[in-house]
Chain length 378, copies 2
């Protein structure tokens, strides 16, 4: 198996976008590739971060594939060759296993890629473009990714402060009303995006700008004027502030004045310097969490993630090893009868003397080692 | 097999001389090395250009050998390690083959090394320090060196002007009287040394210095005063001049006056500017050869030698390959019965499934390849 990979590590978006074929173009590409007769099986994967072509074929297949990628992308072939990684045999297998498990992703451990690969493989399979080798390889790789997801913390561990804060908020209650102060800032934007991915969260976002386009078009979100922020605080279950303001956006006095009940409230301050007056923690039912908490959590999670990557690599090594043995054995099977006949017709001495006379030392020694294993390990 | 080599390529003479053990010390060294129990076989070679230790042993043997070399040489072990090449297994075999054939020598193709290795091996063998592996290896290596000597021009091809001139002179007649003018100069010294290595040559050497120590002590040599040179020319069969003088050392007029017969005479001029007046070639029976002739010959020989080195490497590759197969087969033989039993007790499928379950993919694939070879190549 070969793999040609153009990805965010070796190519910028201007190269990658030319290779981000639509589904119809991908189908056309695979069909033309197979029709060239040098390629026997192929799968193409196009995401915004990578275009990868996995294929099996004869010694001309690599050239065929590169030329066709050049034709379809309009990238001159020599330039394309500078922007791709090329993997062959065991290394191609390893690469697929790493990609599908999220180790090669920009955000390590993200699991969107597994779904994308499943779609890519299914499309090729439905077109009849896959055979024994790619079927085995993709199925093993996807099973391995699921095993990694289950057995390690790789895809469960976030290292982003905004994501961690989002998770904290979403788990605060069954349904959470959140007021986000500073929703158009750097952290605020990511936080709002994350909050909206939780179905139990609805967001009121304040902005100093009148038209907060970046958040306005989303569902489950209400835009409020910054000056009116206190009027939303009583009904909110959670208030997050992440502005670049040098002053408090939430003071004890104004808050106390505006809230009517002592229901459980979660206040999160993601700003440096702090946006929320620390005294608000004295208010009954109110829990205040600062940015330090999330930064420490992110740091711990980063260590956990590095450990998880190591565990994932171990799992990949084991699973890909089983796959390689299966494939090798599959391709050995047609030789079985002939080998058995030769072993029954000739004494072992005769066989070895013939090998000794005909083979160079490296091959002869491998054969002796193989037979020695029969004596020792069976 | 291991080889530890300290040679002119990695160490200067100050290091090498500390490792140039006398024969008695070599014997003592080998005995102590074997008595340490980690080394099972060993041979030591000490020449002025290299000290090399070849040995077989367990995983501690390398440390034992290095420490003992350090003790015997008085070179601190860390320093010694910086000054040695270490070869193991196939690479150690290849190194011995290259050394014994003269490819690793300072003067490529010199064959003194073959005799030195034969002595080193014989000494170790007589002490009972060698076993199957070193006996096979040294005997093959020496046989290979002889084959190279016979089948290539490697050791027959000189690239030194002085040596080529010396050979020309020695082959001029059955017994040759030579007058060397300028015997203490750079070329003269080498020439005289070469001439004295031919048994049929006697030398009269002139020198401007009164005491020409560098040549005086040799047999077959008479020292003459430069001013008297013409008085020796009639009896000389050959006259060589190699001085740095800006004037002719041999003029037509003076020569003509001093020679009485027109017997065959060989005059060789190795000086730049020329020492011998070109007109002497007009004298009947006299053949004059200039330095250009030898320089051209040396250049041709150098090309021939480079070709010969390539041929020698080919022969080494073939011969060492045979050796490696012999050794591998020798060490396989004790396993033969057990392998045969396993092959008769189990079906090939059973054997392969067991291997598949127990071995990592690389080993399993090697075994499949070995059995596939039985089907295809027997």
């Amino acid at each position: 198996m070969y793999c040609i990979s153009v990805n965010y590590k070796n190519s910028d978006v201007n190269i990658r976008k030319k290779l981000a074929f639509s589904e119809n173009v991908q189908k056309e590409f695979l069909t033309e590739l197979i029709n060239g007769k040098t390629v026997s099986e192929c799968v193409i994967l196009c995401t915004c971060n990578r275009t990868e072509l996995y294929f099996c074929g004869n010694e001309d297949s690599l050239n065929t594939a590169q030329n066709l990628l050049s034709n379809y992308s309009g990238i001159e072939c020599d330039l394309l060759k500078k922007h791709l990684y090329l993997f062959y045999s065991d290394k191609a297998v390893m690469h697929l296993f790493r990609v599908v498990s999220g180790i090669e992703s920009m955000v390590i451990g993200e699991d969107e890629i597994l779904g994308q690969i499943k779609l890519a493989y299914t499309m090729a399979k439905d077109l009849g473009m896959t055979g024994y080798e790619l079927n085995m390889t993709f199925q093993s790789a996807m099973a391995c990714a699921k095993k990694i997801k289950t057995q390690t913390a790789l895809s469960k561990t976030s290292v982003s402060t905004a994501t961690l804060a989002g998770n904290e908020i979403a788990h605060f209650k069954d349904k959470v009303n959140v007021l986000v102060i500073g929703a158009t800032g750097k952290i605020g934007t990511v936080l709002v995006k994350n909050l909206l991915s939780h179905k139990n969260v609805s967001v009121i976002a304040t902005s100093r700008k009148h038209s907060a386009e970046s958040v306005q078009t989303k569902a489950n979100i209400t835009i409020a004027n910054y000056a009116d922020r206190y009027s939303y605080m009583d009904s909110a279950d959670c208030v997050v502030s992440a502005t670049a303001s040098p002053h408090y956006t939430v003071t004890y006095y104004d808050l106390k004045k505006n809230i009517k009940t002592d229901k459980p409230r979660l206040f999160i301050d993601l700003a440096v310097p702090p946006d929320i007056d620390g005294s608000v923690a004295e208010i009954k039912g109110l829990k205040l969490i600062g940015i330090d908490y999330f930064e420490k959590l992110a740091k711990n999670n980063n260590e956990l993630k590095l450990d998880s990557v190591e565990s994932a690599k171990e799992i990949i090594k084991e699973e890909s090893d089983v796959l390689k043995k299966d494939i090798a054995f599959h391709f050995f099977l047609p030789h079985m009868e002939s080998v058995k006949n030769k072993l029954s017709e000739n004494s072992l001495e005769e066989i070895l003397y013939k090998f000794k006379a005909e083979l160079p030392s490296e091959e002869f020694i491998k054969i002796l080692d193989a037979f020695k294993s029969c004596g020792e390990k069976i």
